[in-house]
Symmetry: C2
Subunit: 192 residues, 2 copies
DNA sequence: GTCTATACAAAGATAGAC
DNA sequence: GTCTATCTTTGTATAGAC
């Protein structure tokens, strides 16, 4: 289990980012959660916190992307419903105090260089997620523009739901939005 | 200009929250921006950072609420379009590095007590904003359930757009979502 | 009520033994 | 490659003069 230390540190960093954000996360947390020693940080991540956070964000972005790739085929409405079902557990974590690690690195450390790099990672991730969704919606028969717009809207709703549900402490905001969104895509705004 | 120091400190804290979040914000920033002295913090805010941040979040929440109250009357579609026009400049600030101060306090400091208090403030604010919007949509003829669902969805989209636009560094994600949302509310999902 | 000075804790970053 | 120990900086919090 030689090379596992690095992996464990990245995983611990993802968790720390989700709970406390970049500025609120400390090496102490990561070290305690990963069981690594203090000096291990600069051994595995010579550029320090910026590098560790960047790799953690990229890791989390890829994991989410993989989940989105598992969305089943079907009609546009079915894809939308499957999307909400897929992300519900993640938003539930947000309601319990965990959040989106990629959104977290959007705030950054205060260093201009590091922040620009982190925002770029986050932006790339969001685009990749939306692209995955757009593929499914295109396959479901939507024209490319509509698929892209709807996919971007769903990702935006997901990020907003993280924020609202974390504040509320429960899934209620997410459920209300999911109902409204599926209803709108289904073509009836007033129905319940 | 005796009592103005407190006000300036709160304003400076709102700005600091928007740029760095709770954990990333320091008294040094607030002091420099407000021109206050170090001891002034615990003179005006005996409970320290938690109290200062809480008051800043409440202040920002009320300001936004006041802006939402200025939304003009009209059809549901017109209200939605007016909403996007109203928040566009705010999201543009997000794209430039500033964000939503209320969303920022959602992450918190790490202290369990303070975090619960801050999340409660944020949740109350989001609900208040959605209620304002829902009033306008009800006045526009939507039934209460549909108005509430659409209002919550628009606030969620707003928060998501803050995150996506901050990452992207421009307004493109917001504009795409605004187009899709107005199109969906207008009843045509595929049109451009 | 406002300011200066400082105590105390925690953060990130390094050096060097093993 | 892994660990211990420590340096430096920065942040919150407080005491007390004016």
């Amino acid at each position: 289990m030689a090379g596992d230390t690095r992996e464990r540190m990245i995983e611990a960093t993802v968790t720390a980012l989700q709970h406390r954000g970049v500025a609120g996360m400390s090496f102490t947390d990561v070290l305690a959660a990963s069981g690594a020693a203090r000096g291990a940080i600069y051994h595995h991540f010579p550029a320090g916190k910026a590098q560790l956070v960047a790799e953690a964000a990229e890791r989390n972005a890829r994991d989410v992307s993989a989940h989105l790739a598992a969305l089943p085929a079907g009609s546009p409405l079915e894809v939308v419903e499957a999307f909400f079902d897929l992300v519900r557990p993640v938003v539930a974590d947000s309601a319990a105090g965990s959040g989106c690690a990629v959104a977290a690195v959007t705030i950054g450390t205060g260093s201009a260089d590091d922040d620009a790099s982190l925002r770029r990672i986050a932006s790339t991730a969001f685009t990749a997620w939306a692209d995955r969704l757009a593929e499914r919606l295109s396959a479901a028969g939507l024209d490319p523009d509509a698929a892209g717009g709807l996919a971007a809207t769903l990702i935006t709703l997901l990020q907003g739901a993280h924020v609202l549900c974390r504040a509320a402490g429960d899934l209620a905001p997410f459920e209300q939005v999911a109902r409204t969104a599926t209803s709108l895509v289904g073509g009836r705004a007033e129905e319940h």
